[in-house]
């Protein structure tokens, strides 16, 4: 990563306490356009809590979040999303009853909400239908547009999660385990998609698939018990003694 890389999202000293438990402890990270920044760690290390704080779903106990140079720590989640922060969830959160297209169209509508245009059919909004088509095509779902989302395969549902993120035209993507439960072929397809998205976005990737992480990530942050124990290039992390001791099991 060059020093000139444009930082789109920056978290500084982010902490989150639940009573006596410190789920996230003074974590700082910077996401730059054109890079994939992976966060790895065992279950319960605080990765999802970190994503939830960055996206605004839960407030931090301490620290700040900056999006595109603005302090957004006090912003609600929808406001951050409209400002260019897209996220996907560990579980599928697609709308199963809607078609693939409608899932994407509704997501795209977030950018052109116009709720008071009550007489106009939502399908007749060119801005959101065009964005939906583009997002579905980009995520490789253009041949599934009319299918009910609930009937997609698991891998396709994960692709749809990404498509719904893309439909909102985000600058930053926070992806919570996009590869979870995927077969080898689906994983390859998703990695190709992420590599393609990387050029235009800053991507935070929380993932358990280590092979995939070491292949695609430019920076890897390792969390244990809510704290960062190592952060740097894949080679640096692979060779770090702390990481080997705490997480990779010494191989």
């Amino acid at each position: 990563m060059t020093a000139a890389a444009e930082v789109l999202l920056r978290g500084t000293d982010i902490s989150r306490r639940w009573g006596g438990l410190v789920a996230v402890n003074k974590v700082s990270l910077a996401l730059a356009r054109g890079t994939v920044h992976a966060v790895i760690g065992t279950n319960g290390a605080g990765k999802s809590t970190l994503i939830n704080i960055l996206s605004g779903e839960i407030p931090p106990s301490g620290g700040t979040v900056q999006l595109l140079g603005q302090d957004v720590t006090a912003w609600s989640q929808p406001k951050r999303a409209r400002a260019g922060l897209g996220r996907s969830y560990q579980r599928n959160t697609i709308y199963p009853g809607f078609s693939v297209f409608e899932n994407c169209r509704l997501a795209a509508q977030a950018r052109t909400q116009k709720p008071w245009w009550w007489w106009q059919n939502a399908q007749h909004c060119p801005a959101s239908t065009a964005a939906a088509h583009a997002a579905a095509t980009r995520a490789g779902l253009d041949d599934q547009l009319d299918r009910p989302a609930g009937l997609l395969s698991h891998g396709q549902k994960r692709q749809l999660e990404i498509a719904m993120c893309l439909a909102t035209a985000p600058e930053v993507l926070l992806l919570d385990e996009p590869l979870a439960g995927m077969g080898a072929e689906e994983t390859e397809r998703m990695l190709a998609l992420l590599a393609e998205l990387k050029s235009a976005h800053a991507i935070l990737l929380v993932e358990h698939d280590m092979d995939a992480v070491f292949r695609i990530a430019d920076t890897i942050t390792v969390m244990v018990n809510g704290a960062v124990i190592a952060s740097g290039s894949p080679d640096f992390v692979r060779n770090s003694h702390e990481v080997q001791a705490a997480y990779l099991g010494g191989h």
């Binding site: 929808p78 959160t93 697609i94 009853g97 997501a107 509508q109 709720p115 399908q123 719904m164």
Partner: protein
């Protein structure tokens, strides 16, 4: 496309229902006319709740408050023996209900799930006890509307709601207008956002929708329509009492939309008719003799049976028949329903 055929047949069904209601007075006596007017009022009321429960996923258990406020406003704002103008009494009554919905929604929408149900019930009970225990609306005795509103222009009376036929057609026009308004609304961006909130509110927020204002707007629109139904009810009977705000009525209207089939506007229409006709049936002494005074029991059993046998409500019947007769798969509860509004 199959979806087109379906939406066309749904449209045809609703248009047929409205047409049948338009010619019904030719065949009806005064009892039938009054009964069907009452059912149409219930249908408007059920449609208002369908917007919240079926379309937005917000189970409101205090909807009678808006109905009652609309009815009481119609009477309290027209106190004299001179008929007042429909032109302002109707908007004022609807506005009163909408205002209470704004107050109730603003606070209750901060809660979710079962808490929301309980808080809406509590707000409705508050309104109930205001009319029940204060002299404002005649207390438990209720209060009479001495002169029904009229709509006049240039010295000619256009609508005189004292005439049973006039109130019948006025109610029918309101029902058609509300149905069309909601059908259009639910297809709009606003309506699709409500559908998204029902399906997964968390995801909607992550996508960039501030969901609270959407829910509050739906709540106020719903309260206003319930107020319209209450207004019509108060004017039709010329008498209001606290029972119009009671939780029994909030429960009855919930049963109507469940009976008809949640998630479909025509379900509210069908549910209101089914509920009222079942009630008439079990109350009939000609059929049940002395047992008719226990009509609650029969009605309750019939509702339990229909909910158990028809998980998608009465609107699910055609699909069920298709399945039985032709062996085609039935569209289940979680099945695709994108754009499935009317």
């Amino acid at each position: 496309m199959m979806a087109d055929t379906h939406s066309r047949s749904r449209f045809a069904f609703v248009a047929l229902c409205l047409a049948a209601l338009a010619v019904y007075p030719l065949a009806a006596g005064s009892y039938g006319l009054d009964l069907v007017t009452k059912i149409m009022v219930y249908a408007i009321f059920a449609l208002s709740l369908e917007l919240l429960v079926g379309a937005t996923g917000l189970v409101c258990f205090g909807h009678a408050a808006f109905f009652g406020i609309g009815a009481y406003a119609a009477v309290l704002l027209a106190p004299g023996y001179e008929p007042v103008s429909l032109g302002w009494l109707l908007p004022a009554s609807v506005g009163a209900a909408a205002l209470y919905a704004l107050f109730m929604g603003a606070l209750s929408l901060r809660t979710q799930g079962v808490y929301f149900i309980m808080v809406t019930l509590a707000f409705a009970q508050m309104a109930y006890y205001v009319v029940h225990d204060t002299p404002l609306g005649g207390g438990t005795d209720g209060i009479y509307l001495d002169a029904k509103p009229v709509l006049a222009a240039g010295g000619n009376t256009l609508i005189d709601l004292d005439q049973p036929l006039a109130i019948y057609f006025f109610t029918l026009a309101c029902l058609a207008a509300v149905f069309i308004f909601l059908a259009v609304l639910l297809r709009s961006r606003f309506g699709r956002a409500l559908a998204g909130i029902k399906a997964n509110e968390q995801r909607m927020r992550a996508t960039g929708f501030s969901t609270y204002p959407y829910k509050l707007a739906a709540f106020v629109i719903s309260g206003a329509i319930a107020g319209l139904a209450g207004f019509l009810f108060g004017v039709k009977d010329g008498y209001v009492n606290p029972e119009l705000l009671s939780w029994h009525l909030s429960g009855a209207v919930l049963i109507m939309i469940i009976l008809g089939g949640l998630g479909h506007l025509r379900g509210a229409l069908i549910g209101a008719f089914a509920f009222a006709l079942l009630q008439e049936f079990f109350k009939s002494e000609a059929i049940f003799g002395d047992f008719a005074k226990h009509w609650h029991l029969g009605l309750g059993l019939a509702i339990i049976a229909s909910v158990a046998l028809l998980p998608n409500g009465l609107v699910g019947l055609p699909a069920l028949w298709r399945q039985r007769l032709l062996g085609k798969p039935v569209t289940g509860r979680g099945a695709p329903s994108a754009g499935d509004t009317p």
